[in-house]
Subunit: 322 residues, 2 copies
Amino acid sequence: MAVYTHLGAEELAELIAHYNVGDLVSAKGIAEGVSNSNWLIETTGPDGAGARFILTMYERRIELDDLPYFLGLLDHLSAMGCPVPRTIHDRSGAAFRMERDKAVALIEFLPGVSPTQPTAAQIRNLGEVLARMHLASKDFALTRANTMGFIDNYAVLQACGEHGLAAIHPDLPAILAPARNAAALNLDALPIAQIHADLFPDNVLMLGREVTGLIDFYFACTGPMALDLAVTHAAWCFDANNAYRAELGSALVAGYESVRTLTPDERELLPAIAQGAALRFVASRAEDWLDTPDDALVTKKDPMQFAQRWEFYRKSGSQLFS
Amino acid sequence: MAVYTHLGAEELAELIAHYNVGDLVSAKGIAEGVSNSNWLIETTGPDGAGARFILTMYERRIELDDLPYFLGLLDHLSAMGCPVPRTIHDRSGAAFRMERDKAVALIEFLPGVSPTQPTAAQIRNLGEVLARMHLASKDFALTRANTMGFIDNYAVLQACGEHGLAAIHPDLPAILAPARNAAALNLDALPIAQIHADLFPDNVLMLGREVTGLIDFYFACTGPMALDLAVTHAAWCFDANNAYRAELGSALVAGYESVRTLTPDERELLPAIAQGAALRFVASRAEDWLDTPDDALVTKKDPMQFAQRWEFYRKSGSQLFS
């Protein structure tokens, strides 16, 4: 959660005036995004009927060169009828502007809340929407390299060191020991599309059983569709005690396949991809955990959660996607 | 800025169902309030036309016994036509509910943004609204002791110590040296009302030159009206370089007096009250400054800002309110 930059009311009003969205009515810094500042903006709307937007200021980690891909993908998917927020372009047609040497973008506000106790019906719809997004993305003109390469995960964990991992949790080194021997996974033969690559519950808005918004596309890339499904599986299909919820896993795959059938290759590799995805979140969280001071006012994400999911996929993954 | 507690979508929906406001449509944690968690909530509204609210969870510092005063005062002032958010009562009529052993209240959402470069016209309106609020509060049934006593300010600064103050800024001990000899200020003879007592720009919403909302009444108390005017003066009438802006100070007092004339006693004591108010913010900020780790992800408020304002009131205050 974060608002890293204070933008005054006058500065915000001036910024908003570059867009055909009416006058500024309200602006609240919101506690979303780890590398951006975000405001929920209300304006009088282009027609005076009122409108709401998310204003995002890109603070770090985002490469400016990637913004046309991220923001263009939102526009493309939205135009194709996917529930993603479109980018509001300014009066000159630009998708983002520079403010205080940082890029800012105005993005459509979508209704919905992020479920924390999802039902099978919700997860089924999520699978459908994910597959629709993959199909809709195929004629998008831009590409972005897959930043979720699995090769580096073990190197990141090695850099944390045995001592570092044990400091996070005494059991962590033993749980991860088999990762050392995991074969490098070659996904080159799998069908690709534009993928979200980070579809955690925080990044999904729902009303009732319907997905109303996929948001936060800042890990999106051109990559294997099966990887997106595996990340979503790892992120959603476990309960608060980290036990696998089989009915959710089945609903996700069934929903996905009701729109797009997995290839035999994808189906065969999914258990290994799910392990790779889980290990990736162990690695990034372990790195963050050791980098974050204990007294910092941020909630550290526990690497153990995905270490246990990784272990689950390693032991039981072969039965999950058959 | 803060959202200290994570409330899941299902938990929020259940909470909202206790109010006659329709169904939950959206919930965003917002970066406001230092001792509360706040969400900007959207619902379908009691009539299906949509409605917005602020949901506040009281995390600390707030005494539960004070909530009927704070929330009742909002209702009273709102009913009297003052631009303050009313409390939404639940279906049983309660102004607040308990959730996870913490009190939560649903509060009207008001439009407007907080100016950072206020104009004289805006400040004049702020003075008018402040005086209207004081008059409207007079028949409010509850009272709350004034927590802005000036007697303790110097004790707080002494507890920071010469070394602590110098660590904040080398000039701070010298600037504050005359505070030692400041006579205790007796405000008992001044006319009282319910006062906001913390009317900083963050706590004022405006559209154009009109105040649309006074918010965050959690320092409100029964106290001298002149104290509220002095706090507002100290908080608003200096520029980004901390230079006094005479036209704003005049506009504030003129706006106030267009609604309620200051008594001769108030006028005479205002320079001393302004010093007391400024010193109070020096003391609380110095205390916070020394208590906050350097690497904590919070913006520490610089005690020097109000030390300089205190010095300004000490040297020039007698000409300001004459």
